[in-house]
């Protein structure tokens, strides 16, 4: 079949005027001329300049509108977002400092991964948010969390002295390093949610049992440990991050240990990428890599069974390159089949907890059709998995809530890798 490419406009019906004005608009000249100036020149790009002038905001100006970022932005999948859209809005006069758009980014980094011009939201968002925070323009949900973290050293507002309460009534010993008065091989940085959140505490107890079974010489800081500060930094409270980092470094430098072991990828990120500049240099490992190297010694004998799918946490995977080790652990579980979600590894879909997102559900509800964690749970269910395995403490609570709110209670179970390993090792459970 041939395609008819003859002109659809009959040239004899086109009237060319030397000059012509239609309803006040000058449309003189050739028929293919632009009738008005391009929109961009009519706007004052002062709002865009203001972002680009910030230390860390320069790359906002590199955008050439290819929209690769929008395709992979987790927020756009449930809303209307992405660096390209922000750039356009800035061009046409959006006050970024007063917009919800400033707070929807979870700093997952997927945009940066695909951006040919390296527009870096991981630098831009914290830089603009820092200015907003200095002016006091913070969403009230986040204000509450900043204040709690500053006062109690954890975003949940829990009593700092009770940070190691999870170790009580545990049949294995979890020493507090200040009471040991000696060096240890492993100082385990537990983090806030694994210390205070009920599901986090269960994962911590499982990991304590696993480490004990492995014969690891470890200890925790207990009440001396404070929030690592990474999420506060991404959310714009640079002053709070500095205060916490300096306190934590002072504490850590009192003790001698080989490995600083973290359960939390956000703490992992802080120690690796932010603390060194402030005088904190440690041999940091995430528990997934630490345990993966010891798979043979774990003694995984009990059948766990079922299909397990794995969620790549943004701050461990995309931002710090760890993808394989958690999968090695899952595949070592007896009777388990690892199934992948379609957005995995470098293209993993964010749970929504990063960049302050953990505490911005209200704002998300105003701007998105669902939470990112709900979108991700639907993806997990699609794989036919029975269990969604996680290695980041923000996720257990986020995904368990999402399982309920997407009516998948009973269809999908969320477990930390520690819990699955402890089960496979035949260790006591809570």
């Amino acid at each position: 079949m041939s395609t008819d490419i003859s002109p659809k406009i009959d040239p004899s019906r086109v009237i060319e005027h030397e000059s012509y004005e239609l309803e006040g608009v000058d449309i003189s000249g050739h028929w293919n001329r632009m009738f008005e100036q391009r929109v961009i020149f009519d706007y004052d790009i002062e709002k865009l300049d203001r972002v680009m002038d910030l230390d860390g905001g320069e790359s906002m100006g590199y955008c050439y509108q290819c929209a690769q970022c929008v395709a992979v932005c987790p927020v756009d999948h449930v809303g209307d977002y992405g660096p390209r859209k922000i750039y356009k809005k800035l061009q046409v006069g959006m006050d970024f400092f007063a917009s919800d758009d400033l707070w929807l980014c979870t700093t997952c980094g997927n945009c940066l991964r695909v951006c040919p011009k390296e527009v870096d939201m991981l630098q831009i968002m914290p830089a603009v948010r820092k200015e907003a925070v200095l002016e006091g323009a913070v969403p009230s949900e986040l204000q509450d969390v900043f204040e709690k973290t500053a006062r109690y050293g954890n975003p949940l507002g829990k009593n700092a002295k009770r940070r190691h309460a999870w170790t009580r009534k545990l049949e294995v010993e979890v020493p507090i390093i200040s009471e040991l008065d000696r060096r240890v091989d492993v100082l385990w940085w537990v983090s806030d949610y694994p210390s205070y959140h009920p599901r986090g505490m269960e994962a911590s107890r499982s990991l304590a049992r696993v480490l004990t079974k492995l014969g690891i010489d470890f200890a925790i800081l207990g009440a001396e440990e404070r929030h690592d500060g990474d999420s506060m930094l991404r959310a714009g409270e640079a002053g709070l991050f500095e205060m916490l980092a300096d306190q934590n470094i002072e504490t850590l430098n009192k003790y001698e240990f080989d490995v600083l072991l973290t359960t939390d990828p956000h703490a992992y990120n802080a120690f690796i990428n932010e603390y060194a500049a402030r005088g904190g240099n440690y041999n940091v490992e995430h528990y997934s890599t630490f345990l993966a190297r010891r798979t043979a010694e774990l003694g995984l004998s009990e059948d766990v069974g079922g299909k397990v799918t794995f969620h790549d946490p943004c701050y461990l995977g995309r931002q710090n390159g760890v993808y394989d080790e958690p999968r090695e652990l899952i595949e070592a579980l007896p009777g388990v089949e690892l199934v992948e979600m379609w957005r995995n590894r470098q293209n993993g879909y964010c749970c929504g907890g990063g960049g302050g997102g953990m505490w911005l559900d209200g704002l998300a509800a105003d701007n998105q059709s669902m939470r990112l964690s709900e979108k991700r749970v639907l993806e997990a269910v699609e794989t036919g998995a029975d269990t969604l395995c996680v290695v980041c403490p923000y996720e257990v609570s986020r995904f368990e809530d999402a399982v309920k709110s997407t009516n998948n209670d009973g269809a999908l179970v969320v477990k930390d890798i520690s819990e699955l390993l402890a089960q496979a090792m035949g260790l006591a459970t809570d």
């Binding site: 200095l134 006091g136 009230s140 109690y152 829990k158 409270e237 640079a238 002053g239 500095e242």
Partner: protein, 252 residues
């Protein structure tokens, strides 16, 4: 307008409160800013932004939390702060009022703002007692303050959703229930700047008589009861049941 804000540090319930004799066990107590005083401070700063003038913050005690509270007030926009050096644990409401009034005296504030109440006010509200000491007008449970000529238009909250507007002439002491906007956020970086600003002044105080006014005979935690009784039925039926319960308890 020259405004003073009285800020109180109260025991932080995040800690488990323990009783030692007729008082709380103060050894391990943490303190936190009285929430209503935070509203009073916010209202003061908003008034200053509206009509100009100055805001001075006052607090009693020398604990870290008190210093932090005052630095935060400076960071939020107070011009200066005075830390009245006295032990936090010894002062009842009358003694606090005496300490505050002594410090305020001679400074000629147009307006003194504080929170409507604090959790440790066993013997009356500090705002009333300060007003009495200073001989100023007093109004409490205030939910709105607007400049009105050389005075203020003040909205006072009553029960059952009733509010009333008053015209208050200055000088006056007001007990703030809620500021017109939620207390603002101030960045940690700004609080650190305030710490370096030197706007915080430490003032020695004479020892007010700590326990001259009320005597606590006993302090104990409430007995934990068993469950709850759900009262079923429409308003008429439920009201009758409630009346029965109250009258058999000897309350009515």
């Amino acid at each position: 307008m020259k405004i003073a804000v009285l800020m109180r540090a109260v025991p932080d319930p995040v800690e488990e409160l323990e009783i030692d004799g007729e008082d709380l066990d103060r050894d391990f107590l943490g303190f936190v800013l009285n929430e209503f005083d935070d509203h009073a401070l916010e209202e003061a700063i908003l008034l200053k932004e509206e009509v100009g003038g100055s805001v001075s913050a006052y607090a009693i005690g020398t604990a870290d939390e008190v210093e932090q509270m005052l630095h935060t007030a400076i960071a939020k926009g107070a011009d200066d702060a005075r830390m009245l050096g006295k032990d936090l644990d010894a002062l009842d409401a009358h003694a606090q009022a005496e300490a505050f009034s002594d410090a305020l005296g001679g400074c000629d504030y147009d307006l003194v703002l504080s929170g409507v109440q604090a959790s440790d006010e066993l013997d009356g509200q500090v705002t009333m007692l300060v007003a009495a000491e200073l001989g100023h007008l007093h109004m409490s449970v205030v939910v709105s303050v607007t400049p009105d000529g050389d005075g203020l238009k003040v909205t006072k909250e009553y029960w059952s959703g009733i509010t009333a507007d008053y015209r208050v002439s200055l000088p006056a002491v007001l007990g703030v229930q809620t500021a017109r906007e939620a207390p603002r956020y101030v960045a940690v970086a700004r609080i650190r700047q305030a710490q370096e600003s030197g706007a915080l002044e430490s003032v020695d105080m004479g020892q007010p008589d700590p326990r001259g006014r009320i005597h606590i005979t006993e302090m104990r935690l409430p007995d934990v009861g068993e469950g709850a009784e759900m009262i079923e039925g429409d308003e008429e039926v439920a009201a009758e049941k409630v009346y029965e319960i109250l009258s058999s308890a000897g309350v009515v």
